[in-house]
């Protein structure tokens, strides 16, 4: 199954995993040590990231290492897109709040 890259970065845990493996290839256990969530949840996130075609897998003995396919990331542009979206949503919330306050005054 192929997924959209925005599905990968929609989740804060997956964003954090991407940051970790951008620095160095890591085993699932090493990744899991950075989070308070279960090993199963980490596996699920890694599967989704794989389906987004963001991961390279390397076998070293019995261990599998995951690393980031950096060319797929389009680097900072994705974070910028996400930031823009967050700001748009915040401002829509403010629109709603201003609308509510103005109606109360009437």
């Amino acid at each position: 199954m192929r997924r959209d890259i925005f599905q990968a970065i929609a989740d804060p845990t997956r964003r954090a995993i991407l940051v970790l493996i951008a620095v160095q290839a890591m085993t699932p256990n090493a990744i899991a040590e950075h989070f308070d969530i279960t090993r199963q949840s980490i596996s699920k996130h890694l599967r989704i990231l794989s389906e987004c075609d963001l991961l390279n897998q390397k076998q070293d003995g019995r261990e599998i290492f995951y690393e980031l396919k950096i060319d797929k990331m389009k680097e900072i542009d994705i974070w910028l897109g996400q930031f823009r979206k967050i700001m748009e949503e915040r401002f829509q919330q403010l629109d709603q709040l201003l609308y509510t306050i103005k109606n109360k005054k009437k």
Binding site: A16, V23, Q93
Partner: protein, 165 residues
């Protein structure tokens, strides 16, 4: 009403410019950006919540607030550097612990400027990041303290990639 929204990025200076129009008068929009009880109602991306712990809106004062996610609470700090009432204010933004102690060297500088129109108020936000990886951290909401070190590594990694192109 069709409200202006403009978002541009200057990668050379790590600066984001946002211009947004709001359908309210200057006094109300100013309050929405500077009063805790209003900020708490709109600044969190859903499903997160923002709760103010301290707000001291004056030059040299600070806003200490929690970004509350289902998994954990991230503390953020805005230190006000310059305030021109109903015109503009500037702050230095970073992540902190619950007492407002800095937990990272990463920061951004924000200037919010306000301009009254006939029926709307236009806000211009200029946000300058110390480095691009800080933006990523702000977007991701910040994680454990240890992530900051990883992020500076990532910044170096990206600069290596750019240099090797």
């Amino acid at each position: 009403m069709n409200l202006l929204f403009d978002f541009t990025v200057d990668k050379a200076t790590n600066t984001i410019h946002i211009t947004r129009e709001f359908a309210a008068d200057l006094d109300l929009v100013w309050d929405a950006f500077t009063k805790a009880e209003m900020l708490d109602q709109w600044t969190a991306p859903k499903p997160w919540r923002v709760r103010t712990k301290e707000m001291d809106f004056r030059e040299g004062g600070r806003w200490l607030y929690a970004m509350i996610t289902p998994e954990r609470t991230h503390w953020s700090l805005a230190e006000f550097t310059e305030i021109k009432p109903k015109t503009s204010f500037s702050s230095r933004n970073t992540f902190s612990d619950e007492n407002g102690n800095h937990i990272t060297d990463a920061f951004s500088l924000t200037k919010n400027s306000f301009k009254a129109g006939t029926e709307t108020t236009t806000v211009h936000i200029e946000k300058k990041f110390d480095k691009l990886s800080t933006l990523e951290m702000m977007v991701a909401g910040g994680y454990k303290e240890g992530m900051a070190a990883g992020l500076s590594n990532l910044d170096e990694y990206f600069s290596t990639l750019v240099a090797s192109k």
